[in-house]
Amino acid sequence: MAYNLQGDFEYVQNTLLTLASVVGIDINDLSSITLNDLMEACSNTFGQAEHNQDSPIAMSQYAQLRRYQSSFRRFWYMYTVLNWRINNV
């Protein structure tokens, strides 16, 4: 199989660490961090925001929050799946 699990895992892990540093999380053990921890850190960094089209400021805040939350969701999920595969397959 040309798909390289280890290489994929390293990219996902490093990217997750980089993203985490933006929201002030210093992660020594990624596997102990929950998605809720990451979402909370996003809210702490970018503030609570809502999808309110009548408010440009609220929408801007929402866009930034959503970008980071979405990236965290994707990379945290991939990290969990790939980490399991490395340890169990």
């Binding site: 990217t15 440009p56 866009a63 994707r74 999920y77 399991w84 169990n88």
Partner: protein, 231 residues
């Protein structure tokens, strides 16, 4: 014709593409098995949204062959096939989430290189074959633009690069005049249109239109495409 969805269905009926002829049941079964397989790792897409697309748990929706999502999925794949055939692409760089589309483009373009992401494993499982190592490029290399300089077409799912649009810029820098960049799933399932200039993608998409080395075309069909041709 009472709504856009019926138009999608009719479009698929009137099209003759590799994508419209793929057995929907086999794809649905495959997607179902992928979801089951992922759940044993301790995560569940239906409970843990993993990005823009998967907030809709897209993979689960297209685990049903008669779902509206499946028809939109087929239309999206057909659109890409149309673009590749008109372009007559000969060397394609593929960074896409859709492993079925990844399999289809192998039958359309003579040389395809794939990004090393989990969806590539799903594609290899789906095809029942393994790619050669020379056909697979690590994300680490894509991140710094360490790629061949003779791709005439690049396919990127926007979500896969949304954490770092510099990846797109570094790939773009290696393309020659006349090359085509396809940004797929660019409307974020319609959220781009409701949020407009406050959407996370908007600033980057606008910048593309302001660059002097690009012709940029946004197509608001299905999950949205932005086509970028290098001057």
């Amino acid at each position: 014709m009472s709504n856009n969805y019926e138009l999608f269905q009719l479009t698929n009926m009137l099209s003759h593409t590799l994508s419209s002829e793929i057995d929907q049941s086999s794809i649905a079964n495959n997607n179902f098995n992928i979801l089951q397989d992922e759940m044993q790792t301790g995560v569940d897409r239906s409970r843990n949204a993993i990005g823009y697309s998967v907030q809709l748990n897209w993979l689960e929706q297209i685990s049903n062959p008669s779902s509206s999502a499946m028809d939109i999925e087929i239309l999206s794949r057909s659109m890409i096939e149309i673009i590749l055939r008109i372009k007559n692409s000969s060397k394609l760089l593929f960074l896409g989430m859709n492993y079925v589309l990844g399999a289809t483009v192998k039958d359309i373009v003579s040389t395809v290189h794939y990004a090393n992401i989990l969806n590539l494993k799903y594609m290899e499982d789906y095809l029942g074959t393994s790619l050669n190592e020379s056909e697979v490029i690590s994300m680490q290399r894509l991140e710094i633009g360490d790629i061949d300089e003779d791709y005439d077409t690049v396919f990127l799912d926007t979500e896969l690069v949304s954490h770092d649009f510099g990846i797109v810029d570094n790939i773009w820098a290696k393309l020659s005049s006349g090359s085509l960049l396809i940004l797929n799933t660019v409307n974020d399932f319609g959220f781009l249109y409701s949020s407009k200039n406050q959407h996370p993608y908007f600033e980057y998409l606008m910048r593309l239109t302001e660059d002097t080395d690009k012709y940029v075309f946004h197509i608001p069909v299905a999950t949205g495409f932005t086509l970028v041709v290098k001057k």
